[in-house]
Symmetry: C2
Subunit: 422 residues, 2 copies
């Protein structure tokens, strides 16, 4: 093991409980032999044998006594160098490092394949949920057209508190921080960076192409307020931060669009009922239809469980002298978010003068954005228009917004959310 933080310790503890059962099931006895750590002094609980600990990371990665390497350091370096060294030494590597896989996946997949060893990272996406292995294996024959995931537990917790307890965004974030779900600096979660990395990995595996974190368009949840939540509830939706990866077949070939942003999901959709800090990944395939995988997306034990599943797999393959290459191919042709189509929810504060609605509706019409439903609430200073559009192209919607913004009668466009139609 490289690293021994929360996930590493959980892995050691689960293995302590389960190694006899695993040996009975597959005939392989899994043993921790070496753990590379920064400090030999830190207390790591009773399951971690002090004799395993060393500060010599490279020796652990390449030692002849080590058959399978587990990387739980996190971050890009030195994790990347150590994993490359382990793979080049002919050792299968397991990691849960989403940042690394989302940025350097192609290099790692290639080095693993060249050395004919497994490189497995189930824990990098949606914690305990078996999603990458089903995509890599069970659904390898399936033409997958879309993957939509609630893959960030922190933001799902915040949105759940805002929906169920009418908490403000600030209150819900504060509660998430107190419970340890959110970091002191919550940017990576609430602005969609964390979900974006996971989206890139799911797109790579699901569509068999290379998608990196930087290919992902992302918008966060910080602007969502109780007005949006209340409207969503009344209209029969839940607001969720979704990571969406889609394919588009064009004359030039297959394009891939990957984005993370808040979405209004109909309450009858399976993703709408994913509450609290749970994760779920919704997969659409041509033959299989709609699938969803649900569970704990974070936490030591759930993540450790996913790592252990991969370790067992790697060990079984290693004994059989085989491995499974990662089914991710050449760099994807990325479709710009401007070209993606969606229905939209717009919530704007308007003046109460006669003719406002006609003026606003005229701007929609000019850009070919068709209105599905409209609601006017409040009077005078508090007047507000809420629209749900039919499917429109992002570019047309942005042009509509920018023109609406210039109208004197539109005080502010408070919210723009994508909508999944029921």
């Amino acid at each position: 093991m490289l690293g021994c933080g929360t996930v590493g310790r959980a892995l050691v503890e689960i293995l302590d409980q389960r190694s006899a059962a695993i040996e009975e099931a597959v005939g392989i006895k899994l043993e921790v032999t070496q753990i590379a750590v920064r400090s030999l002094e830190t207390d790591r609980g009773p399951a971690v044998d002090h004799d395993w600990l060393t500060t010599d990371t490279m020796t652990v990665a390449t030692s002849e006594d080590v058959d399978v390497v587990v990387e739980v350091l996190g971050g890009i370096e030195p994790a990347r160098q150590l994993i490359l060294a382990a793979l080049n030494a002919g050792k299968p590597v397991i990691t849960g490092n989403k940042e690394l896989v989302a940025n350097h996946g192609a290099e790692l997949f290639a080095v693993a394949a060249r050395n004919q060893v497994d490189f497995l990272f189930e824990a990098a996406v949606a914690g305990a949920i078996p999603i990458l292995r089903p995509l890599r294996e069970s659904l390898l024959g399936e033409d997958i057209t879309r993957i939509m995931g609630i893959v960030n537990g922190t933001t799902n917790f915040i949105l759940t508190r805002m929906t169920e307890d009418q908490a403000s965004y600030a209150e819900a974030l504060d509660e998430a921080q107190k419970l340890g779900y959110a970091e002191a600096d919550p940017t990576a979660d609430v602005e969609g960076f964390d979900a974006g990395a996971k989206a890139a990995i799911m797109a790579s595996i699901g569509f068999g192409v290379e998608v990196v974190a930087n290919d992902v368009h992302h918008e966060g949840i910080a602007k969502i307020d109780q007005v949006d939540i209340a409207f969503a509830n009344r209209l029969g939706y839940r607001i969720k931060l979704l990571a969406i990866a889609e394919v588009f077949d064009t004359e030039q070939g297959r394009e891939v669009g990957v984005r993370v942003h808040p979405v209004m999901v109909p309450i009858t959709h399976p993703l709408a009922s994913v509450r609290e800090s749970f994760n779920a990944v919704f997969v659409e395939g041509v033959a299989a239809g709609e699938l969803m995988f649900y569970g704990r997306g974070a936490g030591g034990s759930p993540t450790g469980s996913a790592v252990l599943g991969d370790v067992v797999d790697a060990a079984v393959n290693l004994r059989a002298g085989t491995y499974r290459p990662v089914p991710a191919g050449p760099p994807a042709m990325i479709r710009s978010v401007d070209e993606v189509e969606s229905a939209y929810y717009l919530n704007m504060e308007v003046g109460d003068a006669p003719g406002v609605l006609a003026e606003v509706a005229g701007v929609f019409g000019k850009h070919g954005v068709s209105i599905g439903s409209m609601e006017q609430t409040g009077l005078g200073e508090d007047a507000r228009l809420v629209f749900i559009t039919h499917i429109a192209r992002e570019r047309a919607l942005r042009q509509t917004l920018s023109e609406l913004d210039e109208l004197d009668s539109v005080r502010a466009i408070s919210s723009v959310l994508r909508v999944i139609e029921a």
Copy 2:
């Protein structure tokens, strides 16, 4: 292929679409070479080449030209004999035959292991949903304590119509039959036999023991009426037919209880939002926590997709000269349903005489069944008592019911449903 019905034809069609993509991903070209059918005359659509067809089933199962055998005949015989012959000829076998696996799994697993070939049957449980492979592989290191599934689409469709459209059971069944979801004789679905076979398979794989269809206690949905549906809705539950497999650690060792019956599921539980003919399997593990797998449980394409996933897996393993034995072990110690504990919903028609409630409550108390909540509705002839109990043992509940049945003041116990507590 042995057989060429709905699933077989769908498999040929999907393969027709996807064989190039599969070859690109894993370097193996999958080709249908022989299909054993009863009649060479039946029209099987354009994807099925007439040259593949033969009536000689045993030749297909054992031919040297065949690398992987797919059984889509259904039923016990001749499927069992043909699969045994194929396995003994060293060929991996894929099937979606739940009846066969739930009754003769141990024999088939043993013969497959002896011949060191794969025996895969993802399609036998919950159609397109990858559930057996996650249980067999991803969660092999996990201590799984409970599996609860909505694994019969017909009954879930009926219950959805009863809940959402206030249809009667007869009306909903009639609609299911018209849509082709239910057979003319719906017994296997509505009485829980179909779900029971799937429960036995899930328990075998999830817990690593042998559980057969006959070990499963089952009760159907035919007695559920609008009174129950309305009460469930008002109390915040949905009624679902669940297949439940649980482990119980006792001094004598680990016991397994497997049962199929209607359950009141809290609306906040992920299983409650599984609507229409969809299936879902909810898995609880010590380290992973709660997981759920959702999707299409039946239909040609979804089932064909699951079969194809297994075919790719078997082909990859065959080329690597390896296989994965089924992780099911010795016969389970079955816990009688009498010993299983649950909370219960009881709905009874009572006389309106003074003292009825005290009399009824006394019977509960005598058998140690503690009442969680009670509601009295109606007056005179229409008086009705509804109870939700705390967790009680099935045997104590049955004793309570039989004594209540003898009371003059209790006209009829209309419904008894298990309740999952929120």
